[in-house]
Subunit: 206 residues, 2 copies
């Protein structure tokens, strides 16, 4: 682009700005803002997911891209007992999130946390419903039948080898409700996407 060109930028917090380029510099450019267009995130509830990143990094990247397209507020990569991947470059995930935000013409960039220990994640306060999805043969509710419109939701999704039984018990003790996402055995990244999309579908019902 050249000086004088028109462009639209976003702050990633719900606003677009129609601008004219004053100084075109690949490292840092200066624009003149002509107009601000508010575009709220598109859902009225708070949607957070803490997930154990999969071994294959591209599966995590795929999930971040899709979740940004569909809509999410916050990602928390989480270190669990059976985690196969024990480190994550969040800058890479952030780049993917920014790209997906632009591609899907959104103006809202979700927060991506640094990798945290499971125990730390479950101890954080959350104002809304808290769910843990696991594969053990224990009493569970069907997410779609349990979640009610407009509720904030916070999901824990475990690694390929599932949460440990101890992790499931700890989560339940701190207020997470065990849920099932259906009768199929889903990959970690598929379970993540299915959880957040279920929330959006229920909220879009009349």
């Amino acid at each position: 682009m050249r000086e004088g060109d028109k462009l639209t930028v976003t702050d990633g917090q719900g606003s677009f700005y129609e601008c004219t380029l004053l100084q075109a510099n690949p490292k840092q450019c200066l624009v003149d803002i002509q107009n601000c267009i508010e575009k709220p995130k598109g859902w009225g509830y708070n949607l957070r997911i803490a997930f154990a990143p999969t071994k294959q990094m591209e599966r995590n990247e795929w999930f971040v891209e899709k979740a940004v397209e569909i809509g999410i507020d916050r990602f928390t990569p989480m270190l669990c007992h059976y985690s196969e991947r024990r480190e994550v470059k969040t800058e890479r995930l952030e780049k993917i999130a920014v790209s997906a935000m632009k591609q899907s013409q959104r103006s809202y960039l979700p927060k991506i946390d640094e990798l945290s220990q499971f125990e730390k994640v479950i101890s954080e306060p959350f104002n809304g419903k808290k769910y843990i999805a696991h594969c053990y043969d224990l009493p569970k509710k069907q997410l779609a039948q349990h979640y009610k419109k407009d509720e904030n939701a916070f999901f824990l999704i475990g690694p390929e080898g599932d949460f440990s039984q101890e992790e499931v018990e700890k989560a339940i003790a701190t207020g997470f409700e065990p849920v099932t996402l259906g009768d199929s055995r889903l990959r970690t990244e598929t379970a993540c996407l299915v959880a957040i999309h279920t929330i959006h579908v229920i909220n879009s019902l009349s």
Copy 2:
């Protein structure tokens, strides 16, 4: 595996077979079936999607993997006016479908058609609701508010550059209802997954 080993095989049509290996040959092996376990596909409706494959083949492969995990009956790769990809190796997609079926412990393998012309696809009979998702600013229904539990559903999802207006008109003339999948601009493969998952969520409501 060796002769005498126990294994479980599936016919991809709703049955698992508990077997003993009689002749172990990498090209063709012989098993003795001890037991047949019926495991129906897990949903009672017929779910078909015709989609314009994306330029990047891995996005199509990703969609096939995820759709098999979540549940689908039939995929039809479709050639549209603005299609960027004009050929698809369905054998590769079939391999991915088989792998996803095994991974998700399903016994049902969806059908994957050869690439077909848009006009041919829309002329095929379908006993159920027919939907076309497009991005034009024309009257559309919200899928989640329009679809009713237990109905069969057939979706048309267009290429990255959308259907042509003429294609949208032809589809509507042959009984496809225009729907929106939400207020975000979704990539082709994301729209495909969102469409089929919306159907499953509505059917899992109490």
